[in-house]
Symmetry: C2
Subunit: 344 residues, 2 copies
Amino acid sequence: MKIFVCGFGTVGQGFAEVLHDRGAMLRDMFEEEAAIVGAMDSRSYAYDPSGLDPMALVSRKKESGKVGGSGYSDSAEVLSSCDYDVLVEVSPTDVKTGGVGLKNIRCALGYGKDVITVNKGPLALRYRELVDLADEKGCIMRFEGSVGGAMPIINLCTEDLVGERITSIRGIFNGTCNYILSKMDKGQPFDQALKEAQQLGYAETDPTNDIEGYDSACKVAILANAVFGRDVTFNDVKITGITSITDEAVAMASSRNMVIRLIGEVTDTKLEVGPRLIPKGHPLSISGTLNTAQILTDLAGPVTVSGRGAGRTETASAILSDLMAIMDKRCRSRWAGSSSTIPR
Amino acid sequence: MKIFVCGFGTVGQGFAEVLHDRGAMLRDMFEEEAAIVGAMDSRSYAYDPSGLDPMALVSRKKESGKVGGSGYSDSAEVLSSCDYDVLVEVSPTDVKTGGVGLKNIRCALGYGKDVITVNKGPLALRYRELVDLADEKGCIMRFEGSVGGAMPIINLCTEDLVGERITSIRGIFNGTCNYILSKMDKGQPFDQALKEAQQLGYAETDPTNDIEGYDSACKVAILANAVFGRDVTFNDVKITGITSITDEAVAMASSRNMVIRLIGEVTDTKLEVGPRLIPKGHPLSISGTLNTAQILTDLAGPVTVSGRGAGRTETASAILSDLMAIMDKRCRSRWAGSSSTIPR
């Protein structure tokens, strides 16, 4: 299984480290090597059809700021000239146009490669186009880490709960907002809580994407497409952020034994992100940076899941789970022709 | 896919209803009919190789107390004389000997049939033997509903999180105890809370199995075997129930912003069920009859899941998910010889 990694920031490096750590496990399980043969950042790339050392890539990136010794002008040219089985697309997201991530995914699928991505922009803007292209080319596209990081949600809904009629998903999809709101529960003013989140690295210098609800809206759009079979984009989501939540509103909620949380909600017809009153003790009243989602189903009833919504290793773990699902399908496919029993 | 259902109480009937409801969906997804060809209760059985009407089975059981018109003396004789692909074993559980459920599962696996069960006794007593037999015969054995009912936990750990090193699972695995403890949080004495649970149908007339922690211990043993690859039985679990929890202890916990919950815990070396102090707001401080489990992993961090631990339709939904996983494997196997693209 030859892997090309596009984007070599925190998540790309985390994935390289995880792959290094889990190499032997993958060999044991699938009787096949999972090797990074190519890696690209915004300025350079490295490629070796016989495999690159993942830890050497991480070291070089840390030392020189570049993942490879070769420059390039067009990522699609690089991707079309290299030999690989699966593209791991983790370049910086662009929720306005889909950016280079969209271009890379289109390119890989176009050449019949499987794709794993955590890049929200392309999925929140061009989901249907990409899925149709994958189907047409017989490719697998997986994106567990694009919603909720290490919290299993997409594969949980589309695989474990595939027999259910899912009527709604409501959840906390942005750890930064939840951190700020949890601090406000304890009496901290918004500005101070935001500053603290920035100091701790939870919020970026420009926090707009988080606190205006745009990040949550991307995830809501992805869930609507992937779980509800809808055909929506980020722009279809009705969004209210958390910037207008006052200390008084939080105190008033608390006096009624409630908290205010930024909730994303998807149904067959609804597509919203906004502050909601949640009773204390309810699964969606969770505090801190965790993500959580409550999936309403017709047979199983409510199923709630929570986990870390971001992080180097956490996001890489979601990519690993997608990679293993692809190896399970691809390796079993190869295997199935030669025998009649079920592997693993 | 020909199904034989052993045990036609609440869960068996619920499964028949769910299969009736989801028949068209299964046909669409797998291009194959999933039909109940046989059903057995403690006194009678029905068998028709061309398929039985699930709703007629449910009606007959309700009206006559018997699922079929034929009597039998030995369930293994019936199972060995009928033609089916998968046994759904949902007869009443026996945690002392494994009972008729153990016998039925052994019989089916021995004849090379796949098995789905929610029967805790056989899994908590003879797990390794059954898994080895399944492997030897090339059979699939699945048992999602045996722990946590509709809460996805076994397949979540062994499939979605298969790339993780799981270091511990701690959870609430008995809704009856949790209902009683939640009521005690609000000042109700133990005896009154138990009585209320019995009146609502959450607790049985003889509540020993729940309140002494035996039911939770079965689930802890199953998780240890299935997720941690251990070889343990129910008898290896260190068990303390909830009968000695006093009103004073609950009040004392509350004054320290804690609740008391009956927690099952599994690690590579630990195997325990007992009352634990849990901080309010912690995922394991959940109230009511829900089940919940916190899975600690090395890459993803903590992943928490909760759902309904029991119920007619809820448990049936877990069986459905196992059935679909088996159909996915079996149908895909058949399919894989004839084409090179991935189905679904």
